[in-house]
């Protein structure tokens, strides 16, 4: 699709309609909070909050699977322990705090998502995304029910899904076949099957502390992604991707941290939203815009590249000068 009209329409939908819609819903929900008895932020409401390991059922938020988030650390990804939370008509709209807002895609996306999923994803994940093919055997793709909107959005918006090579050890980041809105539509539909967390994160990085982020990054992330974020090969054909690649967005960084895609560990209760925002700010603000005051960075590979330059250009260059100065026979 190359027509400027379609382009403008898509941009309009992504940049105007979607945030506008979410804001409108959030605004309505905030107003609704003024009405007594409606969903309140962060506390139990008139019906009991059932903290079973996997699910929470509340009157206003409906049934939400909180599998995979901590139940005791505040502001660490659990909607029921976040500073802000909005629910409406039995579904969780958004939650979070002033570091990260997690929001589920609008209900309107669900139908489009179902059609899109049938086209693009059901062949590997099953028509109901449960990892079961029509004849009852397991599909090549895993069960997606209960993974949450953020997971779907991450895999699709980074281009890893739809998978190009299903036999590859790991799906690699590539050119996205689907648009950002389409990713959200898929997320909306998958989430509608079993509403889960995390929802799609929207980080607010203005107040984030890059220095704290650097400290956390070096403890938790550098072991796989390298201290400069350039990524590297891991065991048996897997790898940790580069995050200095500028197409890695802040949203994707938060999604990866909170959902633990593929072989990456999943960080929930051990990192609060503030810490995640700090790390994200360091990655997108500093790693992706490295300060190289000393000259060319030689690829950021480290002492091996430096050694080659020292030997070939340094010693080699000086040897050439010797060649000029001295005799040759």
């Amino acid at each position: 699709m190359g027509s400027v009209r379609a382009q403008t329409t898509r941009t309009f939908r992504t940049k105007v309609l979607l945030p506008g819609g979410l804001l409108a819903v959030a605004a309505m929900a905030s107003l609704a909070m003024l009405i007594p008895g409606a969903a309140a932020a962060g506390h139990s409401d008139s019906s009991s909050v059932d903290i079973s390991p996997d699910q929470v059922t509340t009157k206003a938020c409906g049934t939400v699977s909180v599998k995979g988030v901590t139940g005791s650390t505040p502001n660490a990804g659990n909607p029921f322990l976040s500073s802000n939370k909005t629910c409406l008509n039995g579904s969780l709209i958004s939650y979070g705090n002033h570091y990260i807002t997690y929001a589920n895609p609008p209900k309107a996306f669900v139908d489009a998502g179902r059609l899109l999923f049938a086209q693009a994803c059901s062949s590997c994940h099953g028509s109901t995304a449960n990892g079961v093919s029509p004849d009852g055997t397991a599909t090549i793709g895993p069960n997606l029910q209960g993974v949450g909107a953020a997971t779907v959005d991450f895999w699709v918006s980074t281009g890893r899904m739809p998978a190009a090579d299903v036999k590859a050890v790991e799906a690699e980041r590539k050119e996205t076949r689907l648009t950002a809105v389409q990713a959200l539509e898929l997320a909306a539909w998958v989430n509608s099957l079993v509403p889960s967390v995390p929802a799609v994160p929207f980080p607010h990085l203005q107040g984030a502390d890059q220095s704290a982020g650097q400290d956390l990054f070096s403890l938790n992330c550098a072991a796989c992604h390298t201290i400069e974020g350039s990524g590297d090969a891991l065991a048996f054909g897997t790898n940790a991707p580069s995050i200095v690649n500028k197409s890695v967005t802040a949203q994707q960084v938060v999604e990866a941290i909170r959902t633990g895609p593929a072989n990456m560990p999943r960080f929930s209760g051990n990192l609060t939203d503030k810490q995640v925002a700090d790390i994200t700010s360091y990655v997108t603000g500093r790693l992706q815009h490295p300060v190289n005051p000393g000259g060319f960075s030689l690829g950021g590979v480290g002492p091996v590249a430096e050694g080659f330059v020292a030997l070939l250009i340094g010693v080699g260059g000086l040897a050439l000068i010797c060649f000029w100065i001295g005799e040759r026979s």
């Binding site: 072991a223 796989c224 065991a235 560990p265």
Partner: protein, 321 residues
């Protein structure tokens, strides 16, 4: 003024001369004026570069100008001087005789005689004296090393073997926060330390702690499991803790691949299977990572059941399994 008394009348020493076309000059010296001009220009450029460096420094200009100017200036200066030497100075080839280093046999014998026989004067038992002196000097050499080496540090004792983990020691993260039941979800990992051994303000180890205490805590999916026979109670609710020090060379094993359930050491890529007691399956590490037995205490914090059952980290002579 009175020098005139000492010296004969001084005249120039006649040194023979030859022409520019002499083969001992390089070809470029046939046109000395041109070569001189080129070298002069090179020197002037070098001067300009140095001036530029001076300005760049005082005016605090950008880094590349600062470094490039001094580098270029030095290079031009050196190039000019070398070219001067190569093109305008006599190249030769000149010949110098090597004087034989060795002396005659008589000289050698005289030297050996001097060494041997001078010490034989008067004293009959020089070998005994010499031996005693040598022994004294040797003993001095040995004992002089005692303070140099021994005072450097304490004896290792069991410092390489014993960590600060005891029964009931609570696991905390680098901010001092205690690990609770749901701190990790399945697939998560965190670095933990014994409580009160990390200064939450700085993140550094306190006086009470040691670098060998560092432990990696993971949570595996799929319900209860046992890493090795006899360790059934060590992994409550899917939590498993291993020493973070690689048994190869002590690098922190912070790299975890959750689907492969593999801890990989970033230094030399030893791979440890987490579900089977961190047994090394690839790479140079010789032993599994020691496992810390875990339990939940009455407050719901994750704590150690006891110390590590063996020394952590790389191998050393006194290490027993």
């Amino acid at each position: 003024m009175s020098d005139a008394d000492h010296q004969p009348s001084r005249t120039r020493v006649p040194m023979p001369m030859a022409a520019m076309s002499d083969p001992h000059m390089s070809d470029a010296a046939q046109q000395p004026a041109r070569v001189e001009m080129i070298i002069a220009i090179v020197f002037v450029l070098a001067l300009a570069c140095f001036v530029l460096f001076g300005i760049a420094y005082t005016q605090n200009w950008d880094y590349w100008t600062l470094g490039g100017s001094i580098g270029a200036g030095l290079f031009l200066l050196g190039f000019g001087l070398t070219a001067w030497g190569k093109y305008l100075m006599p190249q030769g080839p000149f010949v110098e005789e090597r004087h034989t280093l060795r002396g005659t046999q008589e000289e050698r014998d005289a030297m050996s005689a001097a060494l041997v026989e001078r010490t034989a004067v008067v004293v009959k038992r020089r070998k005994m004296l010499g031996g005693l002196f040598a022994a004294g000097a040797a003993i001095f050499g040995i004992v002089a090393l005692f303070p140099l080496i021994r005072s450097l540090g304490p004896l290792p004792a069991n410092s390489l073997e014993v960590t600060d983990w005891r029964r009931g020691t609570v696991l905390v993260d680098s901010t001092g926060r205690r690990v609770r039941r749901d701190t990790l979800v399945p697939g998560g990992l965190i670095t933990v330390y014994p409580e009160h051994t990390v200064d939450p303000r700085t993140g550094f180890i306190t006086e009470d702690g040691q670098a060998v205490d560092q432990t990696v805590l993971l949570r595996l999916p799929g319900g209860p499991f046992t890493t090795m026979p006899g360790r059934e109670t060590w992994t409550p609710e899917g939590y498993v803790a291993y020493s973070k020090l690689c048994t190869h060379l002590g690098c922190p094993v912070g790299l975890y691949e959750q689907e492969l359930e593999l801890l990989v050491c970033p230094c030399h890529q030893s791979m440890f299977k987490v579900r089977d007691g961190a047994v090394p399956t690839f790479g140079p590490a010789p032993r599994p990572l020691p496992q810390l037995p875990l339990m939940f205490n009455d407050d719901g914090d994750l704590a150690a059941q006891g110390p590590y059952d063996q020394a952590v980290g790389p191998g050393f002579w006194e290490r027993t399994t």
